[in-house]
Symmetry: C2
Subunit: 296 residues, 2 copies
């Protein structure tokens, strides 16, 4: 280990996109006593004033190229559909050694955009995804504890520099997260199953009920189970439109598997096949109880 690695200079972090995730990263860095500098790309002068008043950022910028020009570590926390344009805006302005990471909910599509826009600097790009969030969006939705003891998945490619990777690991550890690594394609499959599919099912359920004639009354008699089940249907439609569009290759197979299983449950109900229902429900309860115990 060199001396520089043992006592690295504090980073000059630049967060691009001060929404739920970006806003939570800067809040968490502040609350953990981060010694470096925090710059951010904000939407407009209003957001710049707000970010300054909350003492969240040292210097807010509205221009991406200007914002990243002095950064040592850039965190891109914009919707999946904005990644390409943000990468394009910053590519030529980045200092030679700067590390870039992202927080996008899908990884293969982001890696492809990074390869296109960063060219032979791709080794400095570390694809990442914090496995924590809420159904809310925007700067006001963020909070410092969002990543505390939660997982962050990094999906380095064979081209990723080890030193860039370890600096992004250090950033996430600094905000309280536990970092895992996996292959980008595998990430997209796992998240299609545990996150993207549930969002699709919740959105579809609420929409199905909302389009039924008696909908006002239906929602009036919905209880706590319904509230929890559908909470994710309050998530940003455009953010999720981006995610589902970007990850359709991984989503379709697990969605098809789910539809097949739901058809089987439907058949069991129609046939009065109580055994199949009980077996299915019991297998699910066992797995869900195991999941809950693992989280406890």
């Amino acid at each position: 280990m060199t001396a520089a690695e043992a006592c690295p200079e504090p980073e000059r972090v630049c967060v691009v996109g001060l929404g739920l995730i970006g806003g939570s990263i800067v809040r968490a860095l502040r609350s953990k006593g981060f010694r470096g500098t925090i710059d951010a790309v904000v939407a407009d002068d209003d957001e710049a004033r707000q970010a300054r008043e909350l003492r969240l950022v040292d210097e807010p910028f509205t221009d991406i190229a200007e914002a990243v020009a002095k950064a040592t570590l850039v965190v891109v926390a914009v919707p999946i559909g904005s990644m390409a344009s943000v990468f394009a805006s910053m590519a030529d302005a980045l200092p030679a050694d700067a590390v870039v990471t992202d927080t996008g909910s899908t990884k293969l599509s982001v890696i492809r955009e990074a390869q296109t826009h960063f060219g032979d600097r791709i080794g400095r790009f570390v694809p990442g995804h914090p496995i924590s969030g809420t159904e809310r969006s925007g700067l006001d939705a963020g909070f410092a504890e969002l990543f505390e003891r939660r997982r962050v998945i990094l999906t380095p490619t064979p081209e990723t520099d080890r030193d860039a990777l370890s600096r992004v690991v250090a950033l996430w550890r600094a905000v309280g997260a536990q970092v895992s690594e996996m292959d980008g394609a595998h990430h997209d499959e796992v998240l299609a199953a545990t996150s993207h599919l549930p969002h699709l099912l919740a959105y579809t359920l609420v929409d199905t009920l909302a389009r039924m004639a008696e909908r006002t009354e239906i929602f009036e008699y919905a209880a706590g189970g319904f509230a929890d089940f559908t909470r994710i249907a309050s998530s940003s439609p455009s953010l999720w439109g981006d995610i589902v569009t970007a990850n359709h290759d991984a989503i379709l197979p697990v969605l098809d598997r789910y539809i097949g299983d739901l058809e089987a449950v439907r058949a069991a109900i129609a046939d009065g096949d109580r055994d199949t229902l009980t077996t299915t429900f019991t297998r699910a309860k066992t797995a869900r109880d195991g999941f809950a115990a693992g989280k406890a």
Copy 2:
């Protein structure tokens, strides 16, 4: 109003089935300072001792006929599949004026069983369903606040005595609930949509994922959204086997509508039809936000 109605004698309540719902009713009555007597039918001597130690019931019985013989108001809080045998066990032992109500999650099937077993005493039976619960079961799962400001739906039939109805309304108000009335068939349709369908979707999702090869790892990377979405999949498989079996007539049409809508979402993903996705997600978010605001 007669003097007896203005100052009614305190009820001698007998709760049959001291699980989540029955156990919460007796806890709530106690914590609200209920002046009457609380008896209960318990599973065995162990549960009798526990109920006595917790001062939840005045007299625990293991025999149903014996338990109801002195009751003025019987609350049947057993699984849907046990309603018929419980009604049969108590019918001949009930005092002439005693009122009987139930807490079952489906209503038409319970009304049919009551008509069969109570015969020309059916006017004293008031079908009911508290719209509150959790995924847990059993006496230990109950708590006094379960019904606080939550709805209870009563589904009287043309045969139901008005005085029996008002006494059941008074019981639920005494534990903090808000009482609504509706037709039994309508209840079963509304609850099929807001409760039974979400349970089926959550059970099926967890089962789909549990049967995928990488399941341990999949659950490891699931976050808060998944935990909330699948909480109801930890509910009792036998309780829910009963509910789905009893209410299949109302469940199948809304399940079919849902599967159709999910197929449309699948087609939009496969076709890259972003507009349909955004429209669906936006309609859902609007409805879900409205629901959340209504609950707040």
